[in-house]
């Protein structure tokens, strides 16, 4: 058995850049105009680099969280690891198998949840879905029926297993998708946003399930938009931005990186961009991000400060007047999200 469950070395994935989309990682060449001549020399296409030299070493039995904003390259990395995409360069092994040369062995080693509830058939029942995918994973029929029954029990779907999936809630569909990934008892699980769109109770159940799966010895590569989820579940976290892993450590290790800083969290009404610029100009204030709270004119403003005692009077001074009202102010312990903002300069959901 190889040392690492997943090992990637200098993984790179480039796609032809789409004209006019403003792909931020595209190489500097413009998309060439096509010459319609038999003898015209074909000009190289401009390329968009989605993943730019990712190195990963995920140990057996650990939960590894991969965090990054939309377009950072985490889905492309996952898609390469599960053999849906071929890397442009670099290599990766999953369970000791090369993702290009031994793709079928990689697929046998993996249970993957991509696209969640959309990855199963809504016109089949939960049980029919599991028996169908069991056949695709080459599980003998008698074993498949027993295994499907075990997973139906485990996912608390027994009463609804013979109903069409279209009648299920999103949380139930997600549990069928996770059961599908577990069918062949793969040693490694790739879970791409497993709690996306779930209500808090359903999300908590999925998180408990992920923790149980780790206890059973599964290696889990998890991508998520929810920082608290990554913090709670992951043994280690890789932060990916513009196609590169820019930080990799335990959640505590990552948080220690900004231990010297304080996080000031404000709630204000009547927020405007000029105010943001003025707050950023205060000495010692950095990484200011804002988030609107629902539909109302209430804004959460987070910023990191070298010294909150000297910064707070200046902040209050800037906020007073001009139609802006300070509703709440806290100095909080740095969270993983603050680490993320510190490293990338943007919030995860930007």
């Amino acid at each position: 058995m190889t040392e690492f469950a997943i090992e990637a070395r200098q993984l790179v994935k480039k796609f032809p850049a789409r004209a006019g989309t403003g792909d931020k990682n595209s190489d500097s060449m413009p998309v060439p105009k096509r010459k319609w001549s038999l003898f015209a020399k074909k000009e190289p296409k401009a390329m968009f680099t989605a993943v730019n030299g990712v190195d990963l070493q995920i140990e057996r039995g650990e939960i590894f969280g991969l965090l990054g904003p939309n377009g950072a390259g985490k889905s492309t990395t996952i898609r390469m690891l599960c053999t849906l995409l071929e890397p442009t360069s670099g290599t990766a092994q999953v369970n000791g198998f090369d993702i290009v040369k031994q793709a079928n062995d990689v697929r046998r080693s993996l249970g993957t949840v991509l696209a969640g509830e959309r990855s199963i058939y809504w016109k089949l029942t939960g049980r029919e879905n599991l028996e169908y995918f069991a056949a695709l994973y080459h599980i003998p029929q008698a074993v498949a029926k027993k295994r499907a029954e075990e997973l139906i029990d485990r996912m608390e779907l027994k009463d609804r297993a013979n109903e069409l999936v279209e009648k299920y809630s999103t949380g139930m569909r997600q549990r069928v998708a996770i059961a599908k990934a577990l069918l062949a008892r793969p040693p490694i699980l790739l879970l791409d946003e497993p709690t996306l769109g779930l209500d808090p109770q359903a999300a908590r159940r999925v998180r408990e399930l992920i923790a149980e799966l780790k206890q059973e010895g599964h290696t889990i590569l998890l991508t998520t938009h929810y920082m608290e989820e990554a913090d709670l579940l992951s043994d280690r976290i890789g932060i990916i931005d513009t196609g590169k892993v820019i930080a990799l450590d335990t959640p505590e290790g990552l948080k220690r990186r900004i231990d010297q800083k304080e996080v000031i969290r404000l709630e204000v009404t009547g927020w405007h961009e000029d105010l943001g610029d003025r707050l950023k100009s205060i000495t010692g204030i950095e990484n200011l991000v804002t988030r609107r709270q629902g539909e109302a004119d209430l804004w959460e403003v987070n910023m990191q400060a070298q010294n909150s005692r000297t910064a707070i009077p200046r902040i209050v001074e800037h906020i007073s007047g001009n139609g802006t009202r300070l509703v709440n102010m806290n100095i909080v312990k740095p969270s993983l999200e603050d680490v993320f903002i510190h490293l990338t300069g943007k919030a995860l959901r930007d």
Binding site: L84, N104, S119, F133, L136, H138, A184, R185, E216
Partner: protein
């Protein structure tokens, strides 16, 4: 709580497992097909509607005394102009339905979001396309049977040949009709849109293959093109089997080209699929809507 790491994977790869996976795709498609009850209405109505357009046009053009029909039957050698038209239009509809159904099978899965989850399994990937063909063939056979029953009952169309010879001719045409469907399915995944291709192909069949007229009335250059379309041989062979009591020997000039085209289109279909699969791994086309 189960301990997974110490338990081996439950998957047992091998040829029989791949066959079972193929059967699972067939079973899945058939189950989903049955759960859309509107197909029953389509199955009863469509066999009548399309041929009726040509039958009524023929009656109108035949003149008040129907003398034009006698000329038509003399030109075609047919004993029953309705049967003659129904065979042509049924072949056209067969190819049309295969293009929409098999041709869009992977694209529909892609839009539903299930294509990637199938692609992630270690199964032979051509199974997803091949498996789709089984239920399609059954529904097509039902379509053709209902066509025969409806025109037999409502228009008194009678067979003067052997049902077995008709089935044999259809069997010989399956590889070319579905091979084209396979190639088509792979192209649709690549270009994401294929309405223009469907209209082109079914237009070619409509104009060149003689669905309502004999190919001999076409100009020479059009007849040359008709020779390269397997549907021309299928229509000709089915008419001969149904109304001229033709046996295998008489049908050979149609069966042999059908088998040759079938081999060609199956190979083209399979290799187009392999090309699409390789391209999709490079471009990520499988996951793109």
């Amino acid at each position: 709580m189960e301990t997974i790491i110490s338990s081996p994977s439950l998957g047992k790869p091998g040829f029989l497992s791949d066959l079972r996976a193929l059967w699972a795709v067939v079973h899945r498609e058939w189950t989903i097909f049955r759960r859309y009850p509107s197909w029953i209405i389509a199955l009863l109505i469509w066999p009548l509607i399309f041929p009726m357009l040509y039958i009524l046009t023929a009656r109108a053009l035949a003149g008040p005394d129907g003398s034009g029909l006698a000329i038509f039957m003399k030109t075609t050698g047919a004993s029953d102009f309705i049967g003659y038209i129904v065979i042509g239009t049924t072949v056209w509809m067969w190819q049309n339905i295969v293009l929409w159904d098999v041709g869009f099978s992977l694209r529909n899965e892609q839009m539903r979001g299930t294509l990637e989850s199938n692609w992630l399994s270690p199964t032979w990937r051509f199974s997803y396309l091949l498996g789709h063909t089984g239920p399609q063939l059954v529904s097509m056979l039902m379509f053709i049977t209902i066509t025969a029953l409806e025109f037999g009952l409502l228009f008194h169309v009678r067979l003067h040949g052997s049902v077995w010879m008709i089935l044999l001719t259809m069997l010989a045409a399956i590889p070319s009709i579905y091979g084209l469907g396979f190639a088509f399915a792979s192209l649709v995944i690549t270009v994401k849109e294929a309405n223009a291709f469907v209209f082109l192909i079914r237009g070619l069949v409509m104009i060149f293959c003689g669905i309502t007229f004999p190919i001999s009335i076409l100009p020479g250059w059009m007849q040359s093109i008709a020779k390269w379309l397997p549907q021309s041989y299928l229509i000709h062979g089915m008419r001969a089997a149904a109304f001229s009591n033709a046996g295998i020997t008489e049908l050979l000039p149609d069966l042999m080209p059908l088998l040759a085209f079938g081999t060609f289109w199956l190979v083209v279909g399979y290799f187009t699929f392999l090309w699409m699969e390789r391209r999709a791994r490079r471009t990520g086309a499988i996951g793109q809507y």
